[in-house]
Subunit: 415 residues, 2 copies
Amino acid sequence: MEQLHINGNRLWERLDDLAQIGAIAGTQGNSRLALTEEDGQARDLVISWMRELEMEVTVDGIGNVVGLWNGTNTTESLQPVMTGSHIDTVRSGGRFDGNLGVLAGLEVVQTIAEHGHSTEHPIAVGFFTGEEGARFAPDMLGSLVYVGGLDIETALNSIGIDGKKLGDELKRIGYCGTATCPGIVPKAFIELHIEQGPVLETSGIEIGVVESVQGISWTELTIEGQANHAGTTPMTMRRDAGYVASRISTFVREIATQIGGVQVGTVGKIDLHPNLVNVVASRATLTVDLRNTSGEILREAEDYLEEFCKEIASKENVVITSKSLARFEPVEFSEELVNEISSIASGLGLSTQRMTSGAGHDAQILARVCPSAMIFVPSKDGLSHNPAEYTSLEEISAGANVLLHSILQVAGECS
Amino acid sequence: MEQLHINGNRLWERLDDLAQIGAIAGTQGNSRLALTEEDGQARDLVISWMRELEMEVTVDGIGNVVGLWNGTNTTESLQPVMTGSHIDTVRSGGRFDGNLGVLAGLEVVQTIAEHGHSTEHPIAVGFFTGEEGARFAPDMLGSLVYVGGLDIETALNSIGIDGKKLGDELKRIGYCGTATCPGIVPKAFIELHIEQGPVLETSGIEIGVVESVQGISWTELTIEGQANHAGTTPMTMRRDAGYVASRISTFVREIATQIGGVQVGTVGKIDLHPNLVNVVASRATLTVDLRNTSGEILREAEDYLEEFCKEIASKENVVITSKSLARFEPVEFSEELVNEISSIASGLGLSTQRMTSGAGHDAQILARVCPSAMIFVPSKDGLSHNPAEYTSLEEISAGANVLLHSILQVAGECS
């Protein structure tokens, strides 16, 4: 049986076509927040490609889209082998994050089909609603609902950063479907994704075989102080919510530095009220993003933060309330699947490295219901969530070929 | 000659009428940023009162409004004695800040007129455009143009926090007038204002006689870092504009604490980009407000800030650019006028305290061209730039009576 290869140029072109929707002028990047007009157009385009490949397309009640491919020799009653990712982006994101995993899935199906090959198990390519969490919390919302980890009503009631309700926006763009949630449990889930970090590029490795995902803790803190005149209020009499927000932000850096290792901590969002040069801020909200591969150490980091908030609230005479926006325990992927992917990549002559994902991905959610794993390709300068995000055609083709042969193996290739 | 007294209830009612424009629902406060629709309506109302008092109203090219009152025995060719303040507010401000000084001026004129008294010098009541600086920088913009301290073209080109140009907004609300700038130099300028701080209330004093004003330094800092994924970017590889903004904000507190005394420092405005939970901020802007009564120490504080920005930019691999939004040297008021006000207040049986203003006021700008001084009345809980700002009817009446008799003395009372 001939050794199949994906068509890298075709995949690259689809990536480029998709990137025209929500393109950020003057860059190669994308702004396609979940359930915006742009997300709707991108969904339409990807579904049109699924239909060209004669895939059976279903949309579920949270807007997750699954294209199912039954080849000539496929046993339709068997569980599908699933691949995919997401097509929403952060507000100023790149064209590869998520999109690559979905379009590489289509390329895998097309490659198998056009060569007259088939698999015993059907192949499913999915894209999940709101993976980024950049508009609606939590992130990986769609896949969570897909596996039954989040109640669909709760998800539909999620309020976006623009004050809009997820359910309303889903209807508005016409993607409130009828397929049931939780969805069909796949035989396995394999996701191809860019690394979004500098590790592969720095070590000159072509394929990252992802064996685990960092745990994620997102907290929103709201600080209530008192508005006052910036000139006439003695420093000792202030209840400055802006200062407290800043001090928590620098403490998050201290947490990461003190714990060390793979611990990261980020305050990416701060909003002051009334946000004026000469008024002591009466209110501040900020988000804290903490991640670690160890569930225990992650809880430790959360404890440090909580303790610090108590101390500073008392010292600065402000009230701090805390709300969990997202919380995911670290995930270990299927050892068997990870080993298979690793040997397939090596068999294709590609250099590999076992690694942990610092980012959250739909695959970690699917891992709750089926053997799952991920394939990483390098990110130039480690950039992601940035319009300058870049992975070369060669690197992408290598990753898509590993995905192709991994799926063929798990789905049972037959020709 | 009978001893005149202002009509406190009438003044209080005008304050209440004016506060209906841009009222913040559920509070006693006001949101009337400069040159908004609300500011326009407030201007119309105050001018209608000026006209009822048969004052001659002029509007200059930056929208400053001056009502001139010539009593029966007034020598029109003499320089007017001027009082007034401003009627714009911060976004969530109170009803007394500025407004009191303008409406007390009208009350003084009405009291003199209705008792058939007059003055040798005419009396002018003015309100100056954009004193707060909460929409257009710098603060005290209108009075600066009035005294020739700021070129009118520069002022008209000031871009607001909403991206709109001052000159366009001035035209839109119909307040681009024909009176020339700089305006008529008054014989003296006396401004009644709430203290906006806790000093008078704490010491139980009725009248603050303001002999100086703190110097003010407003700086906008823009930090350029790099957007990156919050999960995958090791702490040591980050160029986090959000962290640097927070660290500068906490350093501003350190400056104030270290210098001590009357030094204050505030970061009231922080904006991150893209301002998302899981993206390391690529850009941040923040404002720094530093104030001191000593010009020398204020420069020292500015130097500390500049030095720190250099250090942290290098350490965190970001680029920091700095822009001065406003810079005012400390001001000493006219000793003669301050003494006169002080003895008038004592003569009225009121307790007085010499003090420094921590806030910037139009009077400090007028002090560049004529003998100037200010009268302060207490602020409940020291609150200002806050809808809860409050000064009682009795306290306000006391202040307005001191203003009345100070004006009568300087303008030369005749009956």
